[in-house]
Amino acid sequence: MLRDRKQEYLTALILVGPFILIYGALFVWPTIQMVLLSFTKAPLIGAGDWVGWDNYVKILSQKLFHSAFWNTAWFVVLTVIPNTLISLAIALAVNRLNGWLQGFVLACFFLPYILPVSVVFLTWNWIIDVQYGLAQGVVALFNGGEPKSLTRTIPLFMPTVAFVTVWWTMGFNILLFIAGLRNISPEIYEAAQLDSAGRWRQFMRITWPLVWPVTVLVLTIQLIAQLKIFDQVYLFSIGGRQDATITLVQYIYKLAFQQNKGGEAATAAVLLFGMIIVLSVLQYQLLRARGEK
């Protein structure tokens, strides 16, 4: 193609300009600042002295950081895998249906996904309310007829919030799985029928291997998203033992906004940053290796 270089550069500059401004000011610059800040003993607002690696040493040895780390890890475990399995199961079930019934069922599963987190929080907080919550009927069955607070009983807190999170976000995964299932040509199944494969064998030998790439995608998306968990955990923990249920982003929040320790908060952020990058790369490699055996 004959190109007018000068004009092309100019056009590119005009088109890319807003992007460069926005990303430069709001992504690149804050990222650099974050790293710099992590080496200072600064309050949230204002400058601080350079302290080298002190913040890292301090944060890494702090009990609260450890508990934030493990709580986050626990939350990831509780959400990522169940969410993936449940979503796949539901996608299979939905994919069987057709017509308006399928649309209706899909909408039922998907609607929660588009709601704001605060709505999800308020709704579920009411449902699991110790005195009047509907769910207490079920809780009582497992608790000797007594109600029990699901969010104030520490061992139950993460599973409860994880359950709500799965309910909230599975619509997204279901959609991805359905798309993956639709990607499998119906003729493949016809061929399998002619090849005498029963329902179970069709699932194990055809469906599962063919939706594996979607599964990897779903797992990766979930992992990254849940490592950044803040909203639900924070909201459900208000008024409770926040330190016992703290997660990493919440920890950053606490350092920065409650304790006014900007430098340490930046340090924690850098650590989270690194963790997410390392983990996503690792997970991807791991799952890919399995998928291609």
Binding site: S185, E187, I188, A191, Q193, L194, S196, A197, R201, W212
Partner: protein, 359 residues
């Protein structure tokens, strides 16, 4: 080896009927081609034989067994899909073994059959590849291989060549014919390409609009089409049709007044039930440039194909016909010509489309 018999088979989707009382008898070892325009129900019929589509009415027998209520895998037929439907995550060998594994065939036997089929189809070197690593033609052969290992009573093929490019299509067509000569198993082949049908079939089933129009050998279908539809659908370039103005008689044969001239035919006047609403049909290869031919016109367009030349000729009454001339024709647009129809290859069609042939 087993005959396949369809008896008054019908099929509807909801209120839309797509097949209406179709019957046929396919003898063991035949190469049957279902030919027809898009949407006429070819695939549906094939899939009903395979068991992938329910039969609404009628029966299907394969050999001595009535199969229309059996699931696909118990009918003893194998299918090759248009897009091959190879399992993308399995190697060629796994693709071919899958069906046998499912019925518990023992390993040595599976290996033997796969290797035999691979040798026959010359895909031995590809056995460890995935379908995505194969060319179109290779995939096609693997799909056939997957069918062969099951040692079916019949192969069902739904437009298996339509995903291949032109050159490969011709080559694969030849291979398929040779394969059939070699293994001799019944094959039912769906296509809407009449060249494929003509060159492959021992018998062609021409379908149109829910029904079978004609079942016959390629030559029967070409030279004695059972209806105007068949006449128009088979043959390229397509048959010329001229409205008949008047029918007169000479020695018991019909003389057709059409296209501004009088065309002598070999059609016995006695077989014609009516002289109104008739159409004369002549194929371009039976319409040649000849001094004193019965039809006069002016050449509008010349298409040189090398071995022959197609002339688009505007006749005296305004009708446009295609005639054939030799490869070295020197005719140019604008030249006046007269055309003679080979009287033994003239056809008449009545208003309902029924055909009357030169005898």
């Amino acid at each position: 080896m087993a005959d396949i018999v369809l008896n008054e088979v019908s099929k509807s989707y909801g209120t839309v009927q797509v097949l209406d009382s179709v019957s046929m008898h396919i003898r063991s070892g035949e190469f049957i081609v279902f030919l027809g325009p898009s949407g006429c129900g070819k695939s549906t019929l094939l899939r009903m034989i395979a068991g992938l589509e329910e039969v609404n009415a009628g029966q299907i027998h394969i050999g001595d067994t009535r199969v229309d209520q059996l699931p696909p895998n118990q009918r003893g037929v194998a299918m090759v899909f248009q897009n091959y439907a190879l399992y993308p995550h399995m190697t060629v060998r796994e693709n071919m073994s899958f069906g046998l594994q499912n019925v518990g065939t023992d390993k040595a036997e599976i290996a033997r059959r796969v290797d035999d089929a691979a040798r026959m189809l010359e895909i031995g070197a590809l056995l460890d590849r995935r379908p995505s690593q194969l060319s179109g033609g290779q995939r096609q052969r693997v799909a056939i291989g997957r069918a062969i290992v099951r040692e079916p009573k019949a192969f069902l093929l739904d437009e298996p060549l339509s995903n291949l490019d032109a050159g490969l299509r011709v080559r694969t067509r030849v291979e398929l014919a040779q394969l059939h000569q070699r293994i001799g198993t019944t094959m039912i082949f769906v296509t809407h390409d009449q060249t494929e049908a003509m060159t492959l079939a021992s018998r062609i089933v021409v379908m149109n609009n829910r029904r079978i129009e004609q079942i016959g050998t390629p030559m029967e279908v070409y030279s004695r089409p059972a209806s105007r539809f068949v006449a128009a659908f088979v043959g390229s370039p397509s048959m010329n049709f001229l409205d008949v103005a008047e029918v007169s008689e000479a020695e018991g044969k019909a003389l057709i007044h059409a296209g501004g001239g009088v065309v002598p035919t070999d059609i016995a006047i006695s077989v014609l039930p009516t002289r109104n609403g008739l159409t004369l049909g002549v194929r371009p290869d039976a319409l040649k440039v000849a001094e004193g031919g019965s039809l006069n016109g002016v050449v509008e367009l010349v298409e040189r194909l090398g071995d022959r030349t197609l002339l688009h000729v505007r006749l005296a009454d305004g009708a446009l016909v295609v005639a054939e001339d030799g490869g070295k024709s020197t005719l140019e647009p604008g030249v006046a010509v007269s055309l003679a129809a080979d009287r033994s290859e003239t056809h008449l069609f009545d208003a309902e489309g029924a055909a009357y042939h030169s005898s």
